[in-house]
Assembly symmetry: C2
Homo-oligomer: 187 residues x 2
């Protein structure tokens, strides 16, 4: 077991993002990420399975935020509104400014294997939301459809958020806008 270095995880994430931007994702090694973060390779592997996983490091917190939001959502909220609250809660994880998430997404979009991994993570997110809805007493079919709809509006909101088009609205608001559009489409 490597030594527990306080803040190592955050430093590794920052170092990785810097290096991916500077020299490209493929060209960056775990050894370089660890060196820039001032830790050993062993410490890197205590925190991440590989250099891809650094890009998806927020997944666990994302699940926690989503589960928390579903637990806290008023009982009389419709399944879709509850699911939407869950993905809106994710905004907390991404911060105020889309610059970091935009840089991260550019790396993912440029690599088919990272795209695949991202799709798996989004599937996982939909599964976590569906399970949370089941716990709220929502029937399986409605839970599944509400969860996948919420992930679709999250993706649309997120994509708009990281698009540099002079629109300064926050992620939450853009997710809510996408939800309204989904409702218009399915009406």
């Amino acid at each position: 077991m490597g030594r527990w270095v306080p803040g190592a995880r955050g430093r590794l994430q920052r170092a990785a993002m810097e290096l991916y931007a500077e020299r490209g994702f493929e060209q960056t090694t775990v050894a370089e990420i660890a060196a820039r973060a001032g830790v050993t390779e062993r410490t890197f592997f205590r925190h991440f399975a590989d250099k891809r996983e650094v890009l998806f490091a927020g997944q666990e917190q994302l699940s926690e935020l989503v589960v928390g939001a579903l637990t806290d959502a008023p009982a009389d909220l419709s399944p879709l509104d509850a699911a939407a609250r869950a993905v809106e809660a994710s905004a907390e994880l991404f911060g105020e400014r889309p610059d970091g998430p935009r840089a991260r997404q550019a790396i993912i979009d440029a690599h088919p294997d990272l795209r695949e991994r991202e799709l798996i993570k989004l599937e996982g997110l939909a599964a976590v939301i569906a399970e949370g809805l089941l716990r709220r007493g929502v029937p399986t079919a409605a839970a599944t459809l509400a969860a996948s709809s919420a992930v679709a509006v999250f993706r649309m909101g997120f994509e708009r958020w990281i698009t540099d088009d002079g629109d300064d609205r926050g992620l939450e608001e853009l997710i809510r806008e996408a939800l309204a559009e989904l409702r218009a489409v399915t009406r």
Copy 2:
């Protein structure tokens, strides 16, 4: 090409499905598939990139069916109804009985890398539908959301279809049922 009488491609697909069922997906080699189909390995690779792709061989026909359905759909159909027509049209590809698709899905579900590939294919299906809707003059946001909704109802209908629960309804009907449920969830 395109004849229903199985040529090498159809024989390879059938041989692969038999071998995957008999001895498992991992244990089956391309050489064995080719031998059972009575063709050379070289012929196998003329039709499929690898033994995974045999499981996703219908993707091109699926795209064609979907594009065709979107072209044929009445102009006054809503984006979601047009997208639903497109995924309903896919039923033709899967045949009357769910046994084959069920066996195929069991193999995919048992292998994470096949699940990843399947998610990519579903993403591709959503993209083809969205593009078809754009050609119908549907705005981008509505096209994207209608396409992802249609894929969600397709997945739900397909899953119910291959579940062996004594429900004899066809894939098309189950897709339409899922669409009605989606509408209820987003109302």
